[in-house]
Each structure stands twice: as structure tokens, then as C-alpha cells.
Amino acid sequence: MPVLTRSQRETLTDVWLTGPATLALLIFIFLPITIVTILSFSDYQFGAGDLSWVGWENYITLFTSAIGQRAIVNTLIYVAIVIPFSVVFALLVAIGLHRMLDWAPALSRILRTVYFLPVAATLVAMAVAWQMLLHPNLGLVNKVLSSLGGAPQNWLSDRGLVLYTLAAIGVWQSVGYNMVLFLAGLSAIPNDLYEAAEVDGAGGTWARFWTVTWPMLGPTTLFVLVVTATNAFRVFETVATLTRGGPAFASETLVYALYREGFVYFKAGYASAITVIFFAILLTLTLAQMRLVERRVHYR
């Protein structure tokens, strides 16, 4: 007879299966988060020998300083643009490509790769290409715009515009990612539902979409929303490579702010406070999103 009881052995198995991953999560994610949270109540300067506790001061600064508020508002605006546009475009593209699979599978697959390219691209180089395309004077975008009779714009140096430019690039980056997820969702919709809709009189393009496609994509959409939201909230790389938060903090976002405060200014304490706020916003929104949508999406 084995030394351990069956329950004990089962527990050991569970530990053996989940332990390593859980431990890794704790060490590489939750331990750092804890440290960061603690530091957010201090004035710690990275590299400095000492620190003192300052209570909520960092938080107060964040919420009262113009730049801090700007970062929060900018992030929210950015997210509010990127989520709907990238999700809707991705959905349209996915539906188009899915249909194309029937009569031009090769083209459909090529286009799928094209739309996916931005996900695979190296931003260091893409940023340079974007800068050249968006050049106020020499860039293709403005040249096309003015040849169509529009007024050229300072895409990256106009304070009123820069955030929207970044958001557009954000959409460019995430359409492919979302499209792939939607395509997968589309291919999982059983064909007989479309046929039932057809027999029931919902045969038109829109009727089909609203009766079958959209509701059946519910879980996919939820997943896409969560992934897009978390990625949009974390916007950092485009800001860092294209505008460095400028001009005059017009494109400052939360993660860029925490990067700048922590890494460029070495204000680790303050950066930690930004982190905590960022995390709190993200957690709240994601939970709310899941709560609100989850029930409408899993048809039980």
C-alpha cells in the first residue's frame, strides 16, 4: 500500500502541475507589483541610497498636476478611439476575408497576411517610416490630402492632432490582431444557422449579420475587447518612438508617463504611484466590461 493517502497524492499532483506556473506568476508578476505598490508611498529616487515615506503625496500630485491629469485624460481618449475603431474595422475585414475564402482563397490568405503584418513589424523601424509618411511637408499623406483638396496637417507636431494620429496608428497596429481573432470566431459559426436564417426570411446581408453573425461572435468579441483594451491602455511604444509624449505633453499617456518618471527622471516613487493608478483603472474597466458583456455573450 502506498504511504500517502489518495487525497494526498492527488494534491501532490495538483501542486506538481500548477505549482511551477503559479510560482513563476508570483515571483515575476505579483512580487514586483507588491514592491511597486509599497514604493508608491515613498519618495524613492532610483539609485539613491535612502527614501522616506510620504503617504498619499504621490497620488495627490498625480491627480492635481496638470501633466498627470493630461496623461490620464489622454489615455482615456486614446482608448476610446482605438477600441471601437479597431474592433469594428477588424470585424468588417474579417467578414470580408471570410467570405472571400469561398471564391478566392489564395487572395484571402494573402490579404490576411497583409493585415497581420503590423503585428509582426518591428516598431523601431516602422516609426521611422511613419514619420516620413506623416511629414507635414514631404510626407505622402499630406501630399495625397492636398491633391484631394484637403489642408495639410502637422500630424505629429500639432498639439490638437497628435493624440489622434497616434490613435490612428494604434488602430493600424491592432486591426490585424483582432481580425485574426474574429476570423477564427467566424469559422466556428455553424453553417446551418445561416441556412435557418435564410429559410426564416433573414437572407439579406444585414439580416444575416444581425441574426447570426453578430450574436454568434459574442464570446469572440468579448475576448477581442478585453485584449484590445488591455493593449490600448498600455500604449507605450508608439508614443516613445514617435513623439516622446510631445509636443508639450500633448501625447503623454499613463504608461509613457510612468516610463518617463521612472526611467528618465528616476522618480521611482512617483512612477510607482502612476503604476498603481494605472492598474486600478485597468482592473476596474476590465472587470466592468466582463461583467456587463459576459452575461449577454454566453447564452445560458
Binding site: D43, Q45, F46, G47, A48, G49, V128, Q131, M132, H135, P136, N137, L138, N154, L156, S157, D158, R159, T243, G245, G246, P247, A248, F249, E261, F263, V264, Y265, F266, K267
Partner: protein, 396 residues
């Protein structure tokens, strides 16, 4: 054999230079082995890395850092004073007081400049001529520059007259041209809200309003100038090589010194960009080897290598005075000569602001310049800026 780990940034400029320096040095000092760390992308990233590595205990022994960045390391007691090594008479080795001032803080020498650059004007002679000006009597005052720029701007579609970045270093340069200073000597007060500072800031607005300066980002401008659509560009002398390559045969990139606006030219100074070298190692034995290396790269031979490879201005008087080192180089590089003369004449420290907010406030200066370019009242805005800085830096 002693091993020295050396950190540097900006591989585009420095990679080959560093190899050449290390090779030349090791030939002279076979007992020392130089190991180069992988370079950092830029000076800010470089100093970030040094701070992190110091915290982690993996810092290199010697590092090249941005001239305005070594104070961050000093603030954290990460770098060693060099006074004992320099000896009694540094000037004899080519370290003039002006050059030493770049690495001097509170009576201690922490860093030595290895390469220098100041703000200059890059000019597109073709556009100047089209606008009816000439390179022979190129304006030497800001008024003249603005007038010429306005003429160039008027050439029409897609042609811009002048551009200057809205940035701390550029502002300090204009300020220096007017003879103003950002802070008082003991760093207890902001002083750029005087006449000189307001005049310097007003230039931004005048460029924009009178000469139609576009609101480019720096990369926009760096693309526009070599493309031949920008007449006059205020930029660091270190961009010379890239601009010449970019313009190719289209036009001849020409460098002109910054206008002097102060009534008393002896007050004029230009903040110096470029890099300094600092010693991080605390091991006495290594320190000696490190000093040997530092004195080699800041000495005439090292400086020759640096100037010839990077286009930076030298930071040792001996190379400038003694034509045997760089004479033939300057004969071929008129633009470099102009830029380096300006450095020799007016080199001054690139002020970094004291305390934990020191770096952060430079972004506020830049933001204020954006406001002013876009129409804010210069005087009011500069005063407000000064006041904000005093608060941030804990000067009140």
C-alpha cells in the same frame, strides 16, 4: 593585466571611434585591456543604464556620458573625483578652464569633456540665393536671419525659412547668445526670466510669426533640411556629417555660427553638447588604469581620433592650437572648422538643474517654448515658467 569595462552610447557615431581609441590606447598600455559594453541608444538611455547597473552592482569602470547627464551620476555618488589625477597644472595638458568647467561642480572635477558640439546654423545656399540673399554677406544678427528666413519662406510651396527645436538645450543656446544665464552661480535661483531670457524666448515667437517657422518635430526637420525644403536650421554641430550625406549632390550644406546678440560679447556662452568621460570604479588599482585611459582619450592623440571619426569638436586646447594634429582635417572640412571655432570661443556648460526634478523640468522648458511659438506672451510665459521651476526644484 587590468581589464577596464567601458560604456558608451550612440553607436552610429561612436562605434568605430571607440574601437580605434581602444586599439590605440592598448598599444600604448599593453598592461590594460579595454572591454567595450554594448552601446546604449542615446545619452539619456546610457545614463539610465549606468544608474540601473550601479544599483545592481554591475556598473562599468569608465563611461562616456552626455555632458548634461553626468550630474545625475554625481547626485547618486556614483562617479569618482578626478582632481587628484589631474595634478596641479591641468592647463598645460590642454584642459582649459572653459573646458574643465563642463565637468566641474562645487569645486570638484567629476568629468572631462571628450567631444563637444554647440548649436549652429545649417544653411541651404541655393534657397538663400533664390530668396535674393547671398552666402557672402550672410546675416550675423537674429533680425537679419529672420528677415532672410521670411524671404525664403515666401518662395512658396513647401519651402520653409527657418526652424529651431523647442528644447531646453536650444533655448539655453539662444539665452547664451543674449548673455543670459539659466541659474545663479550657487544654483539657488532661476535667472532666465530676465531680459535676455525673454528676448531668447521671444525669438521662437518671431521665428514663427515673422518667418513662418513650421511646427516640425525634430525628425520632420531633419528630413526637410537635407531634402532642400528648409532654408536655415538651428541644430547641433554634430549633425553635420549626416546632413551632408543626406543632401548629397543636391546642394552644399553650409554651416554658419550662431548670431551673437549680447551687447557684451564676453558674456556670451553656448551650452556644450557632446560627451564627457567619467570614472565609476572604486578599485584603486583600476582607477589608475582608468585614469590612464581617460587622459589618453582626452589628450591630443585621442582627441584627434575622436574629431576625425565623429566630426565632434575637440575638447583639448592642444589639438586646436597645434596644427600637426588636425590641420589637414580642417582644410578639407570648412564646416567643421567653423563649428569647432565656435566651440573653442564660446563653450560653456550645459546647465542641468539640481535635485530630483532636474531632468523633469527640462521638458517643462520645452513645453513653454511650444506655447510661446504658438502665440503665448513670451514675457508672461517665461516668468511663469521660471516660477514653476523654482517651485519644482525647491528653490523657494
Amino acid at each position: 593585466q587590468t581589464e577596464l569595462r567601458v560604456h558608451y552610447a550612440i553607436p552610429t557615431i561612436w562605434a568605430e571611434t571607440q574601437d580605434a581609441l581602444a586599439e590605440a590606447f592598448m598599444k600604448e598600455h599593453p598592461e590594460v585591456r579595454i572591454v567595450l559594453d554594448g552601446p546604449a541608444e542615446g545619452y539619456p538611455e546610457g545614463v539610465q543604464r549606468l544608474v540601473r547597473e550601479s544599483v545592481a552592482g554591475t556598473a562599468p569602470d569608465v563611461a562616456y556620458v552626455g555632458l548634461n547627464r553626468w550630474r545625475i551620476l554625481e547626485d547618486r555618488d556614483l562617479i569618482q573625483p578626478l582632481d587628484d589625477f589631474l595634478g596641479e597644472n591641468p592647463e598645460a595638458q590642454g584642459y582649459t578652464p572653459a573646458l574643465l568647467s563642463l565637468g566641474h561642480y562645487q569645486d570638484t572635477q567629476y568629468a572631462l569633456a571628450t567631444s563637444a558640439s554647440t548649436l549652429v546654423m545649417y544653411v541651404n545656399p541655393d534657397l538663400v540665393e533664390q530668396a535674393g540673399g547671398s552666402m557672402e554677406d550672410f546675416p550675423t544678427t537674429f533680425d537679419g536671419v529672420i528677415e532672410l528666413a521670411a524671404d525664403i519662406d515666401a518662395l512658396g510651396d513647401g519651402i520653409d525659412g527657418v526652424w529651431i527645436d523647442r528644447h531646453d538645450w536650444r533655448f539655453q543656446s539662444l539665452l547664451g547668445s543674449y548673455g543670459g544665464l539659466p541659474m545663479n552661480a550657487d544654483e539657488t535661483d532661476i535667472t532666465f526670466d530676465d531680459e535676455a531670457g525673454i528676448a531668447a524666448a521671444t525669438l521662437y515667437q518671431r521665428f514663427a510669426e515673422e518667418a513662418g517657422m513650421p511646427s516640425y518635430t525634430d525628425s520632420d526637420a531633419r528630413q526637410a533640411f537635407p531634402a532642400g525644403t528648409l532654408g536655415i536650421m538651428f541644430e547641433s554641430s554634430s549633425l553635420q556629417t549626416r546632413f551632408e550625406q543626406g543632401a548629397g549632390d543636391n546642394f552644399e550644406v553650409t554651416v554658419r555660427p550662431l548670431p551673437i546678440a549680447a551687447e557684451d560679447p564676453s558674456n556670451v556662452w553656448f551650452p556644450t553638447g557632446g560627451s564627457a568621460i567619467v570614472m565609476l570604479t572604486e578599485d584603486p588599482e583600476k582607477q589608475q588604469a582608468a585614469w590612464d585611459y581617460i587622459s589618453f582619450v582626452t589628450g591630443p592623440e585621442g582627441q584627434r581620433i575622436i574629431v576625425e571619426n565623429t566630426g565632434y569638436a575637440p575638447a583639448n586646447a592642444q589639438v586646436l592650437e597645434d596644427r600637426t594634429y588636425l590641420g589637414s582635417y580642417y582644410d578639407k572640412n570648412e564646416n567643421a572648422r567653423i563649428a569647432h571655432t565656435q566651440v573653442a570661443q564660446y563653450a560653456g556648460p550645459w546647465y542641468s538643474f539640481p535635485g530630483p526634478e532636474g531632468v523633469a523640468v527640462t521638458d517643462m522648458i520645452a513645453a513653454a517654448m511650444v506655447d510661446i511659438t504658438e502665440g503665448a506672451d513670451p514675457e508672461a510665459r517665461v516668468k511663469e515658467l521660471a516660477q514653476t521651476l523654482r517651485m519644482q526644484l525647491g528653490m523657494e
